[in-house]
């Protein structure tokens, strides 16, 4: 489904108490989010998306479907996009996470993909947008010069109900152009 992180062996720590099923016994994790290290105690069942939103107050990552279809919760885990509603916070222990808040190269600036979504009217209600931008980042990382069909195929994991996708496609095309001409190198964790 998603690339399991290589950090801290990428597995849920085993719990000997309560037959190994105690999902409310808190665990200590260390996660670097947008370049800042956090030490936290979380329940093993806590979803990464709830960790980011409720514990770290990074509410730019949204929850749209709970079952990994809509992609509103897409973040980068060690530089690769994952759907944070189907990753446990403990699985991110030792990892680097990039959210929409950390995509721009510096405070107050915009990443070329963000600029392109604005320029090309690639959003309406904005709820799918952070996930759509993070998924576009992954798409362009894998394929810096995608065709329209490749963009449409590449964004199948992200649902937008407002735009009909046409201007999202334009935005990805435009950001690809901008990034190719070297206006701004993309940033991401773990690279």
């Amino acid at each position: 489904m998603f690339p399991l992180p290589a950090c801290n062996e990428g597995r849920i720590p085993h719990d000997e108490t309560n037959g190994g099923n105690n999902l409310t016994m808190k665990r200590e994790i260390t996660v670097t989010v947008n370049g800042q290290q956090h030490h936290s105690n979380v329940e093993p069942r806590m979803l990464l998306v709830h960790y980011l939103r409720d514990e770290l107050d990074l509410t730019g990552t949204h929850i749209g479907c709970d079952t990994s279809q809509c992609g509103a919760c897409t973040v980068l885990l060690n530089g690769d996009s994952v759907k944070a509603c189907t990753v446990l916070a403990v699985q991110a222990d030792g990892c680097e996470v990039t959210t929409i808040e950390g995509l721009a190269p510096e405070e107050g600036s915009l990443h070329p993909i963000q600029t392109a979504f604005w320029e090309k009217h690639g959003l309406q209600c904005g709820f799918c947008t952070p996930g759509m931008i993070m998924a576009s980042y992954q798409l362009l990382k894998n394929n810096p010069n995608p065709t329209e069909a490749e963009i449409r195929k590449g964004l199948e994991g992200n649902i937008c109900r407002c735009t009909g996708y046409q201007n999202i496609v334009r935005a990805v095309q435009y950001s690809a152009e901008q990034m190719r001409t070297g206006a701004e190198a993309p940033v991401g964790a773990g690279e």
Partner: protein, 779 residues
């Protein structure tokens, strides 16, 4: 004009910076110290009696603050609001409290809530509630629900039919007989407009906070109707209106589904008033698919009569509207109030007959979903035109042209009763046909057919109209005005507090452009504030493509009023007559001598500082306008869809999609285009893939996005768009509205293309590969 952001320029949206950086605040982003979380226990049955509910284990679970059932709410919270109760609904049929009492009537019906310290704990405890259900036979087929012996949702009424409309048929019968006698045709077709889930990507959500000290309730809700929510919720929980404040933060889409006062909002308000802590409830997607209102779900029996030349002489429609289990705000009137008036479409149809049954079934309530009634009515009209063309062997484009209402007939009163403001349908049709290269498409289609290469090509048209900008006065239980409070501050900044409340439409940008144009000032000098009932004047909400037409007109009128006052002030500053003062490029000057001028900011400062203001003028620059439409607007257009069906797989692909829409004056063409794109995607979604499916036992089979299909980027074509501009005369801006046009126009265009490809009269939606493969291979 040369003003950055003036009307007609495609400026970038002012809302976007916060949305693309993750800094926007949606309701689930709100945190209040001591806030509690609510989880809702819902019925796993489509229809069952509740024998008992045991909440003890849940109450005793660590971290749980309260568990409530209907018994706890009795006398404290009113019933879910219904705007216009028809027939038996006025006698209590389909009326319901926020939590189920005695019976559950659909899968997802809320039975109990848990309030806990943490969202995970709330769910843990929810699983500890024991409900003793006695399952009952469910009824999910609306036509079977009307038959004698069908399981009854409301036994005391002895029927599932809430209301029937059955006018005498004498007149239409005569028309049909005469048409046949004159050598014309009558074509009959049953059509199903399937049930859809609106599926805004942000689900519903609410945070309610009651402060016992001053008895004030604040509710943050993902809603399209802040003021209606405030007014109705106040009444339902027994608080005076002034002690309730509703704040609608960023809203992640609505499409009509957030145009209701929902049980969870009512229970969260009750809970915070009891507990004294803020209570948050965020719907998950499975709840959203199960209990947030659904759209469409209508079965129509259509008969259309036409002369042998193709001129329609009469249309007869019997509509059956599937209400689902309960009546919500507009559930019962969607078909009759919003669909029936546009039944004649863009066509001069001399006689129409409309009858209806509105019926309860064991499914989620239906209500307004993008277009609300108009897509269904338009689907009937546009399919009927194609049925006539097919029967007579004529080109559907020409049958449309023959039947169009002509430009000199406006304002036009249709046989269905609606008065159309303005229209000019043929140029939109011609433009769309030219863009699609229609004649070539037809010859290419004929060539491919004779080749028999395994692909079936179909071309479908839709020349839709719709009705927008509700109002007018007297047509709803409350006046459907919009409002604007406008203040020009000392600095020259313009603050606009609008009663309209957007959920993705870009209203901050559009309204800014209206103000920037009128004051000839840069867009960044204008601030648009919305969504807070404490600071914005009363508004009726964003739905029915009415925000720019009605809310924009309020903003425009407010700007005009303040401009007049500013001219008056400037005339004293310039020692001239007010009637000689003009405002251009941000400066007031006397006509003919532009060198003698005062800037917009100087006049604003003079008015607000007051010391040098002429004694006869009241200080300050502020006004509030309520603008109520006198009539509705009727946008229109023609869409052309080209499909290709693979005979081997049944897979249908949209090869081209051309749309020419006329929404009157366009304030921001980029935003208009975006609305059309999204609208078409939703209409195409209905035609191609979408549908809420229930099992015979009332189980919801489409309860996650694994099972409920919405179009992906890869399934949609690049839409080819253009427009014509026919101004409306019913508002000062000339705008008609565009939010729903794409959805209304596109569904029949795709359906007509599919029927054309297959060479059949009609296929019911959605056009899945399996359905089309079976149709191809059974013949």
């Amino acid at each position: 004009m040369g003003i950055a952001g003036a009307i007609g320029t495609p400026i970038k949206r002012r809302e976007d910076p916060r949305l693309i950086t993750g800094q926007a605040t949606y309701v689930d982003d709100i945190k209040i110290p001591g806030m509690l979380y609510m989880a809702v226990l819902r019925s796993p049955y489509g229809h069952a009696r509740i024998n008992s509910i045991n909440t003890e284990a849940a109450r005793n679970h660590p971290g749980v603050k309260a568990v409530y059932t209907a018994a706890d709410l009795k006398g404290a919270v009113g019933n879910v609001a219904i705007a216009v109760p028809l027939g038996e609904i006025a006698n209590g049929m389909g009326v319901h409290g926020p939590l189920a009492e005695g019976k559950v009537r659909f899968y997802g019906d809320p039975v109990a809530v848990v309030i806990a310290e943490d969202r995970y704990v709330a769910r843990d405890a929810r699983d500890l509630i024991e409900v003793d259900y006695e399952p009952l036979p469910a009824i999910v087929d609306v036509e079977k629900a009307m038959q004698p012996g069908a399981p009854l949702l409301y036994e005391e009424f002895g029927t599932n039919v809430a209301f029937s409309l059955t006018p005498p048929t004498d007149d239409i019968d005569k028309v049909f007989e005469q048409t046949k006698a004159d050598g014309g045709i009558v074509v009959k077709q049953r059509m199903v407009n399937q049930r859809l889930a609106p599926n805004s990507i942000e689900t519903r959500g609410v945070v309610a906070e009651y402060r016992k000290a001053n008895k004030s309730l604040t509710v943050w809700s993902s809603s399209q109707i802040p003021h209606l929510l405030r007014n109705i919720l106040a009444a339902l929980v027994g608080l005076p209106q002034h002690q309730v404040r509703v704040i609608v933060p960023e809203v992640g889409g609505g499409f009509g589904s957030k145009l209701n006062i929902y049980p969870e909002e009512m229970v969260a308000a009750f809970a915070t008033m009891k507990l004294g802590h803020a209570v948050k409830w965020i719907e998950d997607r499975s709840e959203n698919l199960a209990v947030t209102i659904h759209g469409r779900d209508q079965v129509d029996y259509v008969e259309v009569a036409a002369t042998k030349e193709g001129k329609i002489t009469g249309l007869k429609v019997h509509g059956i509207s599937d209400l689902g289990s309960y009546c919500q705000l507009f559930t019962d009137v969607i078909m009759i109030a919003f669909g029936f008036p546009v039944s004649c479409g863009a066509y001069d149809i001399p006689a129409i007959y409309l009858s209806a049954d509105i019926v309860f079934t064991n499914k989620a309530p239906t209500d307004a979903y993008r277009g609300a009634g108009r897509p269904e009515a338009t689907y009937i009209a546009e399919r009927a035109i194609d049925l006539v063309a097919r029967e007579l062997g004529k080109d559907p484009a020409e049958v449309r042209r023959l039947n169009f209402i002509q430009p000199d007939q406006f304002p036009y009163k249709s046989a269905a009763g609606a008065v159309y403001d303005t229209g000019n349908y043929e140029p939109a049709l011609d433009k769309a046909l030219a863009m699609a290269d229609y004649q070539n498409l037809r010859s290419e289609q004929a060539r491919l057919r004779s080749n028999g290469n395994g692909k079936l090509v179909g071309v479908g048209l839709s020349s839709y109209i719709e009705i927008c900008g509700f109002g007018p006065k007297g047509t709803a239980p409350v006046g459907l005005y919009e409002s604007a409070r406008m203040r020009v501050e000392q600095s020259g900044t313009v603050m606009v507090y609008t009663g309209s409340s957007p959920h993705g439409q870009g209203e901050e940008t559009t309204f800014t452009q209206i103000v920037a144009e009128e004051f000839s000032i840069p867009a960044d000098q204008v601030m648009i504030m919305h969504g807070d009932t404490d600071s914005t004047p009363e508004g009726r909400g964003t739905y029915g493509s009415r925000t720019t037409a009605v809310g924009g007109s309020a903003v425009f009128t407010a700007a005009q009023r303040l401009k007049e006052k500013m001219k008056h002030i400037a005339s004293h500053m310039l020692e001239a007559s007010a009637s000689d003062v003009t405002l251009e490029d941000g400066k007031f000057s006397v006509a003919g001598s532009p060198q003698k001028a005062v800037t917009f900011a100087e006049v604003a400062a003079t008015a607000n500082l007051s010391n040098t203001l002429h004694a006869s003028i009241e200080p300050g620059l502020e006004t509030t306008v309520f603008w109520e439409p006198e009539a509705c607007t009727f946008p229109f257009g023609t869409h052309v869809c080209v499909v290709e069906i693979d005979k081997e797989t049944g897979n249908a692909e949209i090869k081209r999609y051309v749309a020419v829409d006329d929404c009157g004056r366009q304030i921001n063409p980029m935003i208009v285009e975006g609305q059309v794109h999204g609208g078409i995607a939703q209409g195409v979604g209905q035609a191609m893939v979408e549908g809420v499916i229930y099992g015979e036992d009332g189980q919801l089979l489409t309860s996650t996005l694994m099972d409920y299909a919405m179009p992906f980027a890869s399934e949609l074509p690049n839409f080819e768009l253009d427009s014509t501009v026919t101004l409306t005369t019913v508002n000062p801006l000339g705008v008609k509205g565009v939010g729903e046009a794409g959805t209304i126009g596109s569904t029949p265009a795709v359906a007509n293309a599919i029927a054309d490809a297959l060479g059949v009269a009609h296929v019911d939606m959605p056009f899945t590969s399996e359905k089309l493969w079976k149709l191809i291979h059974q013949s």
